[in-house]
Symmetry: C2
Subunit: 526 residues, 2 copies
């Protein structure tokens, strides 16, 4: 054994004596351990006395003692007083495992040979990963759905963080329960009443880590595998991913100028849920009409369906007053309202909330604890102060003006290059706009080409359940792009779009003259 150690030990050239000693201790232990595992030092073998081994290898006796003690503690060796230290019999009993294999009618072959894809994901895991919609870029022109985090009032936030970290109450550092920090839920209930027309008591609010966790909880607590959910088509990829992964089947339902538009045949098969973005349809930006709202509420009441209202960026309305939520119109407790602070504060905060009908709220609080535990109560306490002291309202007012200005600049840039009447989504709200493209355009190709230029412009067609039936366009987030960069960045993007449009015009020209210019009404939005 001393030969093994002499061969393999690396003597440190420098370093403090203390550090070098620790290093030697670990090395001696690891070498002996590896040789035991490999069978080079067989079970039953007696280890040399520590004093002798230390002398032969030229290390301190403490080093050998450390190694022996650790091997003993981990069960690699056994010691019996007086007779010495022996390598344990811990090699797996192959005969027992083989017997199992034989009884099972199989021949035991190492798994590595047996199954070439021993790292395979499950079917649902494979589906999730291969249909992933989350971008690996999260910042820069024109990332959709990302607010300008540099406008966040970090000094105020930091002051409140300091206040709560100075003397943190133990209850705020440990696991949470009951749906989150009650004072936050109180100020939030009041804010939602005023800003969004949401009617609720604080007890109906459950704090989540965002819209995704809320959707996940809804699917797991209110649906069983095989249940169906209507989803706006085009719609948010995250809803589709989460529902599918939980065994809930998303049924794409087209969107018209008034919002989600189930036809008569669809109406005959009530789903478990209707997921919708009434304030600002994602990604097209249309507002759900009042008559559509009332139709859905009445349908939900009659059929016992849940309407899940995703109010993700409704605070950013640039024209007129904010429109009240669908939840506020519901007299029969059929709406579950979801909100997030990702857009109004910053995405990394991972905080959102849901407003539940009273009978559901306690179940959701328990379900949330059970599935994910809870915590982050200091952050919730900071946010409660932030809202209560008025910083939240001030911040939203401030960024709303900036985002409105940025949207105008982007529209100007589009108009300058493609004409003032180029079809785009409504300008009333949101963090992104859609620049529509004529049928036959390759929005995915344009998006990929833009990416090589360091620009994000997500293809509209990818938000449809059936890309062959999809409209073409580009989602452009303007919120996180500084004013002075909007024009230049768009001109860079235009260098990618224009050749694609010219190519399209050329290839379609034989059939009819420049559809890109002439048939604009046909593809120009809802």
């Amino acid at each position: 054994m001393s030969e093994l150690l002499l061969q393999r030990l690396e003597r440190p050239a420098d370093g403090s004596a203390d550090k070098a000693g620790t290093h030697m201790n670990r090395q001696v232990y690891q070498i002996i351990r590896q040789e035991i595992l490999a069978g080079t030092i067989p079970a039953g073998c007696k280890l040399p006395a520590s004093r002798m081994l230390a002398k032969e290898v030229g290390v301190s006796r403490n080093t050998v003692l450390y190694a022996y003690e650790q091997l003993l503690a981990e069960g690699y060796v056994t010691a019996s007083t007086g007779s010495g230290t022996f390598v344990s019999h811990t090699f797996p009993d192959h005969s027992a495992l083989h017997k199992v294999g034989a009884a099972n009618g199989t021949i035991t072959v190492p798994a590595a040979q047996q199954n070439p894809n021993r790292f395979a994901l499950s079917r649902r895991g494979q589906h999730l990963v291969s249909h992933a919609g989350a971008s690996d870029r999260q910042w820069g022109a024109f990332m959709a759905g990302v607010p300008d985090v540099s406008l966040f009032p970090r000094a105020v936030w930091n002051r409140l963080l300091n206040k709560h970290w100075r003397e943190p109450r133990p209850e705020l550092l440990t696991y949470a329960h009951n749906g989150g920090y009650l004072p936050l839920r109180r100020v939030l209930a009041e804010h939602l009443r005023l800003a969004r027309g949401v009617r609720c008591d604080p007890e109906q609010i459950i704090m989540t880590t965002g819209i995704h966790q809320a959707i996940d909880l809804i699917a797991r607590l209110l649906a069983d595998p095989g249940d169906k959910a209507w989803m706006e088509d085009p719609g948010y990829w995250g809803t589709r991913s989460l529902l599918s992964n939980s065994g809930v089947e998303p049924i794409p339902v087209p969107v018209d100028g008034e919002g989600i538009a189930p036809d008569a045949a669809t109406l005959q098969n009530p789903p478990r849920f209707i997921f919708a973005t009434p304030s600002h349809q994602y990604p097209l930006g249309t507002v759900m009409s009042l008559s559509r709202r009332r139709m859905l509420l009445e349908y939900a009441r009659q059929r016992g369906v849940w309407i899940v209202e995703d109010d993700y960026d409704s605070e950013f309305r640039f024209e007129g007053r904010p429109l009240a939520s669908l939840q506020g119109l519901d007299e029969h407790d059929r709406v579950i309202y979801m909100g997030t602070f990702s857009k109004t504060l910053f995405p990394g905060i991972r905080m959102g909330f849901m407003v539940l009908p009273k009978p559901l709220a306690p179940h959701f609080a328990i379900g949330l604890s059970e599935l994910f535990r809870e915590g982050q109560l200091i952050q919730q306490a900071v946010l409660a102060d932030f809202i209560e002291e008025g910083h939240y309202a001030t911040h939203i007012r401030r960024v709303r003006l900036r985002y409105a200005q940025r949207q105008s600049l982007l529209r100007e840039a589009i108009a300058e290059r493609f004409g003032a009447d180029w079809p785009t989504s409504t300008h009333e709200a949101g963090l992104h706009l859609v620049m529509h493209l004529p049928p036959g355009a390759d929005d995915l190709g344009i998006s990929m080409a833009a990416r090589t230029q360091g620009l994000s412009a997500r293809p509209l067609s990818r938000y449809y359940s059936d890309e062959t039936q999809a409209r073409q366009g580009l989602l452009m987030g303007y919120a996180c792009v500084p004013e002075e960069e909007i024009g230049p960045s768009f001109r860079k993007l235009a260098e990618v779009i224009e050749p694609a449009m010219e190519h399209l015009a050329r290839t379609q020209a034989p059939r009819r003259e420049s559809p890109v210019k002439i048939n604009r009404e046909a593809w120009s939005g809802a």
Copy 2:
């Protein structure tokens, strides 16, 4: 309409003119809106001119204009220049909805009458909530699994928080991707190598919000509904809840003195996963033997099974050196290692991690983004500094001494009251110990009685899959109880335990003499 308003308007007695004005604006809007929804002001009805209505009701014209504009924006009324403002036709088309009902062969009855339980959870939701294990108490003697958050070095943490909040990089405030903040994963890989014998590159580490999220990801990415997972019995309720809710069937496998102990019949049916707590079995506290470790690894290799190592509190080892992880012994990439900062820092931090075999790591990073998005990168940056500057190691050394001392005090208190040979779990590690109770004892009853005294002592029997086959005992967390409170709190608890033991002795006495005293070996743990 002026009568309606005169009847229902509440005039503010005091308050600033500004606030009162806003209040009146909202009231007028809400009253008209409610009456339109109720049908009292029918569709097609022309609203009075704003000037006239304002005069009749005695409010400012601006108040009426505000209400009209909001009603217009939300679609309750339409305006045509010159001819006035009219209530919209937005009432749901009942005939259409009825038609659907009739075509469906059902009679349309309001859902409230149709379905008395219109707030019912799904089967899996019902199962989750009714089997919930998470306690609604999270602090105080003798909460199991909760560290002493008051020992957390908050000043250091706050200093690091300040540092990162002073000039936060935008990338740290927005969504994350790729498994988390790379510098943190680098220091963590090094820490895990030294402290836990884990062998990994930083790219194999995925940051999570804790063990629960890690289990959830594993179940969703590597299993499909109907797949099976072996679970230690007794074992952690959270694993059972998460697996069941994801459609993965937990198969309870007994635990002996060497760890999880599948019998020959069980071995014949390889599961998808083996969930285990090798360093410190939860809740019994036994350490998995080396031969059991090698047997499981060999079995996993042969059968392509995943071993999920939950190393939740392994940093708290009070005697001897820490034992290396199972992951470090694995030569064939069959172990997924899970860790958490809930016990070493504080639970509310909601941060943990998993170490994955290299081929799986990129899939898990995508799956995590897709299911939950990610964020909290500032917190991850703070933690990276905290570890790198040595505060993490210092903190663990410091609390380890305190927890060892607290455990001794609790053991002394038990010995003082119940005798030095009363059976308890091993004393080498952890944040809790188990005080075993003789068969026939009602640990659940004792736990409930303790609760009325403000004390936590979770019943051991509840950690078994089959309570009728369970051993009786009490889980007592000592980590979060200050030294001076341990004795008094235990004496209070003893006041609840003793009568139960006396009652048991009396009821069993006719059969044999005081089994509580005599047959102790039979129920005194592995």
